[in-house]
C-alpha cells in the first residue's frame, strides 16, 4: 500500500497554542491574532518551520498564543534576535511582533537596521499610540498635546510616522492596515509572501488606555471618508460614495471631488507600489492634517535577502578556498620547527 504522502492541511485552529490569552477583553490584539492564524494556514506554513519573535509590551505576548516556535525576548530587541535566527537557519519563516513603544522607541535602532539589511522577516508593528503594559504613558506615535499620566499637560513631542521611517530605512515591503479592517488578512498575506523584510503597521485599539484612537478608521459610517484603500495601478479614490480623490498639486497631495470643475479619474494620482517616492508621500498623509490615510501596500520591491547573501558568501568562500581545514588553519602563517 503506498504511503500517504499528502501533507496534512492545517487550519487556523492548528496554529493556536494551549495557552490562555491574557490580553484585556476587547483588545484589538485578538482580532490581529485571529487573522494571523488564518493567514498562516492559508499560506500553507508549518508550525515547526515558523518562529514568532517579540520584544516587550502587550503585543509582544503574541508568540505565546501561536503553536509555533516562539521567543518572547527583551524590550525592543526582537528584530536583532530574529536576525540571528534567520542567519542560523534561513529556511525558517520568521515573524516579529512589536508595538509602537517596543519597535519605535527602545528598539528603533534595531528596526531600522533589520529593514536596511533586508533580513527576510515579517515585522508586524501594532500601533496603539500608547504604552499599555505600563499603564498609559504617551508613546512615540502619540499625537502632540496628548494628555497621559506622564504628560498631564499634554505631550510636547511630535509623533513619528512608522511608515515614513520604514521607507527611509530602505524597507523592501511597507504596508498598513487596521486591526478590525476587512483588508487586514490580505495585507498580512502579502507580507507573508514577500521575499525580504516586510513592515506592516497595524492600527490597534487599546480599549483601556487609548480607546477609539483609530475610530475614524473603523466607524462604519465615516471610515471610508478617512482612509484610502491602495490598489496598484489604480487612482487614489476614496469616500463612502467613492467620489473623492487625491491629486498632486505642485508636488503636494490635495483632496479633490471627482466631477467637480471637470476633474476626471485620470487626473488623480495613480498608485504605483514600486515607487518609493510616492510611498513616502503617501506615508505623510495624516488624518490630523485633514487627509484620508492610505491603507494597504505602500511599497514593495523584492531584493536579495541578507541571510541569503551571507550564506552565499560562505558557499563562495568554500568554493574558492575549499572547505576549511583545522590543521591547515592552525598551521597557517609563519611556522617553524623546534627540534
Amino acid at each position: 500500500m503506498p504511503a500517504n504522502t499528502e501533507l496534512p492541511v492545517l487550519t487556523a485552529k492548528d496554529f493556536a497554542s494551549d495557552q490562555d490569552i491574557r490580553w484585556c477583553p476587547g483588545c484589538g490584539d485578538y482580532a490581529i491574532l485571529n487573522q494571523v492564524r488564518k493567514v498562516m494556514a492559508k499560506l500553507g506554513r508549518t508550525r515547526e518551520g515558523t518562529v514568532f519573535v517579540s520584544g516587550i509590551g502587550c503585543s509582544s505576548r503574541f508568540p505565546y498564543y501561536m503553536n509555533t516556535y516562539g521567543f518572547h525576548s527583551i524590550h525592543g530587541r526582537a528584530p536583532a534576535v530574529a536576525t540571528g535566527v534567520k542567519i542560523a537557519n534561513p529556511a525558517l519563516d520568521v515573524w516579529v511582533v512589536t508595538g509602537d513603544g517596543d519597535g519605535l522607541s527602545i528598539g528603533g535602532n534595531h528596526l531600522i537596521h533589520a529593514l536596511r539589511r533586508n533580513v527576510n522577516l515579517k515585522i508586524l508593528l501594532f500601533n496603539n499610540r500608547i504604552y499599555g503594559l505600563t499603564k498609559g504613558q504617551y508613546s512615540p506615535t502619540s499625537e502632540e498635546g496628548k494628555k497621559t499620566k506622564s504628560s498631564p499637560m499634554g505631550s510636547i513631542e511630535l509623533p513619528i510616522s512608522p511608515l515614513s521611517l520604514a521607507i527611509a530605512a530602505e524597507a523592501s515591503f511597507v504596508a498598513r492596515s487596521v486591526d478590525v479592517d476587512k483588508d487586514l488578512p490580505a495585507v498580512i498575506e502579502r507580507a507573508g509572501m514577500h521575499n525580504g523584510s516586510a513592515f506592516v503597521e497595524i492600527y490597534q485599539d487599546c480599549n483601556i488606555f487609548n480607546h477609539k484612537a483609530f475610530e475614524y478608521t473603523t466607524d462604519k459610517d465615516t471610515k471610508e471618508d478617512n482612509i484610502i484603500r491602495l490598489e496598484h495601478g489604480k487612482p487614489l479614490i476614496f469616500g463612502k460614495n467613492r467620489d473623492k480623490g487625491i491629486r498632486l498639486h505642485e508636488h503636494k497631495p490635495e483632496i479633490v471631488k471627482i466631477g467637480e470643475g471637470g476633474i476626471k479619474e485620470d487626473d488623480l494620482l495613480f498608485h504605483d507600489e514600486k515607487d518609493d517616492s510616492l510611498a513616502f508621500l503617501l506615508s505623510r498623509m495624516s488624518h490630523s492634517d485633514g487627509f484620508p490615510e492610505p491603507m494597504g501596500v505602500f511599497y514593495t520591491a523584492p531584493d536579495d535577502c541578507y541571510e541569503d547573501l551571507l550564506a552565499k558568501q560562505v558557499a563562495d568562500a568554500i568554493k574558492s578556498r575549499g572547505e576549511g581545514d583545522l590543521e591547515a588553519l592552525f598551521n597557517s602563517g609563519e611556522t617553524y620547527e623546534v627540534a
Partner: protein, 650 residues
Amino acid sequence: MTSGVTKTAGNKPVKEMGSAVVFFAGDSGDGMQLAGTQFTDTSAIIGNDVATLPDFPAEIRAPAGTVAGVSGFQINFAASDIHTPGDRVNALIAMNPAAFKAHIEDVEVGGIVVVNDSEFDKINLRKAGYSEGYNPLDDEKYGQRFKIYRVPITRLNAESLATTGMGAKDIERCKNMWALGLIYWLYDRPLDTTVGYLNDYFGKKKKLPAVAEANVKALQAGFHFGETTEMFTARFHIARATITPGKYRKITGNEGLAMGLVAAAKLAAKQLVYCSYPITPASDILHSLAAMKNFGVKTMQAEDEIAAVCAAIGASFAGQIGVTGTSGPGLALKSEAINLAIMTELPLIVVNVQRGGPSTGLPTKTEQSDLLQAMYGRNGDSPIVIIAPQSPADCVEVAIEAVRIAIRHMIPVIILADGYIGNGAEPWRIPNETTHPDLFKPIEVKHATDPAKYQVYGRDENLARPWAVPGTPGLMHRIGGLEKQDITGNVSYDSANHQRMTDLRRLRVEKVADFIPAIEPHGDNSGDLLVLGWGGTYGSIVTAVENARQKGLRVSAAHLRYLNPMPKNLGELLSRFKKVLIPELNTGQLRLLIRGKFLVDAKGLNKVQGKPFLVEEIEHAIHKLLNNEWGDQDSITPSTETLGAEEAAG
C-alpha cells in the same frame, strides 16, 4: 639582560646574552608595529622564546610628533622559557623626540638608546613638549645613564634609496625597515624572514614590487650601517631556547580566540555565528572570523552591542553556536540580553577583551577590572560561567572549553581576556590530535527530537534543559525572559517556583565544577605564601614566584582559569598556606570574591596603570608580605615612580 661570554663575529665582538628586551617607539604613522612584529617573527623562527606587548595610542593618528601619538612595541626574547614581555628595556629605538620622552624611563640603567637624530629638530622637540632650546640628547643626565646612539635614520634611509626613483614620501615610509635592519644587526638576527615578508606583502599581495624592493634595500642598508660604522662597539647574541620540540607559530590572543571558536564549531559540527560591534581591543576577532567564511563561519557586524548579543542568542536558539565579542563598555550594554540567555538557558559565548575602565576609560590599555561586572553586573540573581585565558597561546583552548561548557550545560559563558592577551603575541606550539587528544575530542550535541519525551524545561543529569531547535516537528515551544515554570517552561509567577528556578540557575553553574580540573599549584602544595592570580597576569606571577623560590622562599603560585565556578579544591589549597597574595590589574576584584567565599584574609597587589605587572613589582610584594613589612593594609599599589624618578626635562 643577563650577560655572558664574548666572542667575535665579523668585525665586532658578539656578547652572548640570556635574554633581551627591545622596544620600538615612534609616531603612530612610523610603522613601529610592523617593525616589532617582524622582529618577533624573526626571533621566534630562529628559536628564541618571545613575548610581546604592543602599545598604541587611542587616537588613530594623534597629532604627529606628540607624546599622545607615540606607538610602541616591546619584545622580550630569550634563550630560556619566558612568560612576560619583560620589565626593563635593554634597547630602545626612538624614532622621534616624543618617542624618546614617552619611553626613556622604561630603559634600564646602562641600556642602549638608538635615536633617529634626524628628527630631533626644533619643531619636533617642541611638539614633544620640550622647552625651547632644550634637547634631551645634549642633557648629561641621560648621557650618564644610558648608551645613547645618535643615528640620522631619516637621512641615511633617504640616501640609501636615492637611486630608486621613488618620491620623498614613499622613501621616508621605509625608514622603519632601515631602523629594523640596524637592530637586526645589533642582535645578530638574519634578514631573510623579513625580506620574505616584504616580497610577499608588497610584491605579491599589493602588487607593488618597487615598494618591496625599496623596503628590502632600506632593511639591508640599516644592517650594513651597523656592520661598517664604528659607532657600535659590540653586538649581542641570544641563543636558541630549549623549548618543547614541535611545530610552532606566533599567535596573538585575539587570533587564538578566533581560531579556538572556529575549532569548537567544527568539533561540535555546528556553524559559528559571530555577531559583534566594532570595539577596541576586540575588533580583531571579528576581522579574523570574517575572513574564515570557508569554515562555515557567519559573521554579522551588528548595529550596536545589544543587537550583537541578541543576534547571537537568536542564532543559538535556532541551533547554531551564537558568539558575541566585545570589551568592557560593550559588556555593560549586553547585560540585559545576557540575562535573557541565562533565563532561557541557551548556549551563548560572550568574549570580553577587557580594557581600562570605567566608562570609555583607556580603550587601548589593558586592565582586569570587569571581573565583578561579569560576575554580578546584571539584574536579579543571575549566575554565569566565567573563564579566563592566561596567555595569548592559551586562548585557543579556552575558546574551545567555553563552547564545550555552553553546549553541555545549555548555559552562557563569559570569556574574560584582556587587551594585553588579545594584542600580545607568543609562540604557540601547534596542537594536533596526537599531542592534544583532549582538545580535539568532539563536542557532543544532543538535540531533542522526541515529542513524547520533550519538556521545555526538563533536565538531564547536568541540569541542562533540552535544546529543541526550530524546524523540529512536534517540539514547538515558546521561551522568553519571564520566569518559567520548572519542567513545562510555561510562564509562571508562582513564588515557590521562582525560588526553585533561582536555586536551579545557581546549581546549574555549580554543576560545571564537576567537569573542571583541580587547581594545581606551581611549586609546593603548602607553604608560607600562595600567590593566586587569574587571566593575563599569569606570566608575571609565575616568573616572580620562580625567582622567589630560587631565593629559598616557601612561595607557590596558583592560577584560576575558571572564575565561576571555581575549582572544587581551591578552598582546601588556600588553607594550606599561611598567607595569600592576589595580584590583579584592578582594585581587588578577585580578592573580594575569595575573601567572601573562603573567609581568607587575602592581601592584594593592585595596579591600574594600563600596563601588565612588572615581575619585580610582584617580587617586591612577596618580600614585603613574607618579611612582615606589609602593615595592616588590605592591598598595596606598585609605585608609579620609575627608576631615577626625575621628570623628563621640559
